[in-house]
Amino acid sequence: MKRIVTIIAAFAIPVVMLGQTKKFEYTPKVKNKVEITNLLGEISLQNSNGNTIVIESDFNLEKPERADGLKLLGAAEDNTDLGANVSEENGIVSIQGATRQVRDYKYKILIPAGMAVNLDYNSPFAKSDISVDSFTGSLEIKTLNASVKITKSSGPFTINTISGNLEVVFDKLNQIEPSSLATINGYIDITMPGSDKANFEINTINGNIYNNLDVKASAKENNKDKDRLAFGMDVMRTKGANSYTLNGGGQKVFLKTISGNIYLRKK
């Protein structure tokens, strides 16, 4: 029996050690905006409980013996011990990847509710995807190849990607500011409670649009640029943006792809 316990312990302890995460906390002087740049590891965003920004990471740099007592020279000073630099200026908290090794690690960033986040992931060296969970506040994300997955959030979102897919599950749509999701090669998949009110502006060139949300084409918009020759006729299809309403219309949601499909799901 004892032997079994030792064997289990021998296997379990290294696993626990490997999964060790370190924490860094920062209380912003002004609760306004967070800018995340050059942090090209695996990022997940969430709201924190209090007024502090918390960064959790498994960052663990393997240094050669010769570098004992020396620090890796990066673009900025690593003042978090997590390979990142945190600074605050003019009411904007900046979280910056300090070294290129950040690409190999995971970062979980907890942001106080109500702070806006601008995440710049627009780099060919970005290694992973982005996930956002239970986040309230304005969120702006820019990526090149990375996909963005958002759950249990309300926006407003401004998300731009070139080849990434966008998956957004709204718990309810923010009615104060519009949201915009845009991708060139990826798909857009949004899920929304059927009772939400929204105005969709949907635009795709090579993609198809599927929906089981009860959206209706907004006739008003379509009749706007009818010319003299179309007098007395119904609009069948108009160029450019196509507008649809959900439950009589609400805040605007812009969905734009070039080659990807768009999926509108009911929650």
């Binding site: 090209l40 010769r66 020396l70 620090k71 673009a75 630099n85 300090a98 290129r100 060296f125």
Partner: protein
């Protein structure tokens, strides 16, 4: 019995002298001179500053278990008035004896130890050498392909360090005047670091080695 043991000891001793590592020492006056070094196949190069006006050099050579030590040469050219040291190993001759064709894969261990005047201006080129420079204050240029460069810098030195590495990393415990960079460098590192607002140019280049910049513990 005793005789046998004695004979055995003698034999081992003679073998030892026949195949022992080659050590070359040199002393050169460096007053008003620059130094240029090309130690391509070095394993380690250690350059230390001292307060004399001479360069003192010690090379220990071991090529293929000391069998081919005689094919190592350290050429000194001084026609320019400066000190010019070039390592030469006659690989063709060794290959002929070993009959290995184009394969010149054999063990070697070549170590350089130099003591130089603190203000000496010098340049060093190596392929495989791991370079350690301690406390020099002069203009310097070090270029290595696969070895690291470790520079111990006098804390008060006013210098501009131009460094680059492709796949290596840079480690340091010095406080440079530079402001944080806006863009991170994702491939390789190329930096122009300024220490104490200074201008003495230092150039450190390596392809796959790390670069270490450390504060000297000595006061000067």
């Amino acid at each position: 019995m005793k005789n046998y043991i004695l004979a055995a000891i003698l034999m081992v001793a003679t073998l030892g002298t026949a195949f022992s590592q080659k050590v070359i020492t040199k002393k050169v006056d460096a007053t008003g001179k620059k130094m240029e070094m090309k130690f391509d196949f070095a394993d380690s190069i250690r350059i230390e500053a001292w307060n004399k006006n001479t360069v003192e050099l010690e090379v220990s050579v071991n090529i293929d278990n000391n069998r081919f030590n005689e094919y190592y040469k350290l050429n000194e050219n001084s026609f320019s008035g400066d000190i010019d040291l070039v390592e030469k190993i006659d690989f063709e001759a060794i290959k002929k004896i070993k009959g290995t064709g184009n394969n010149c894969n054999f063990d070697k261990m070549i170590r350089y130890k130099l003591k130089v005047p603190a203000n000496l201006e010098f340049s060093l080129k190596t392929i495989s050498g791991q370079v350690e420079v301690i406390g020099t204050l002069g203009k310097m240029s070090v270029n290595s392909i696969s070895g690291f460069i470790d520079y111990t810098i006098p804390a008060s030195m006013k210098t501009r360090i131009n460094l680059s590495t492709i796949t290596g990393d840079v480690y340091s415990n010095l406080k440079f005047d530079n402001k944080p960079e806006k863009e991170a460098q994702w491939v390789g590192t190329k930096r122009n670091l300024i220490l104490n607002g200074g201008t003495q140019p230092i150039k450190l280049e390596t392809i796959s080695g790390n670069i270490y910049l450390r504060k000297s513990k000595l006061l000067n």
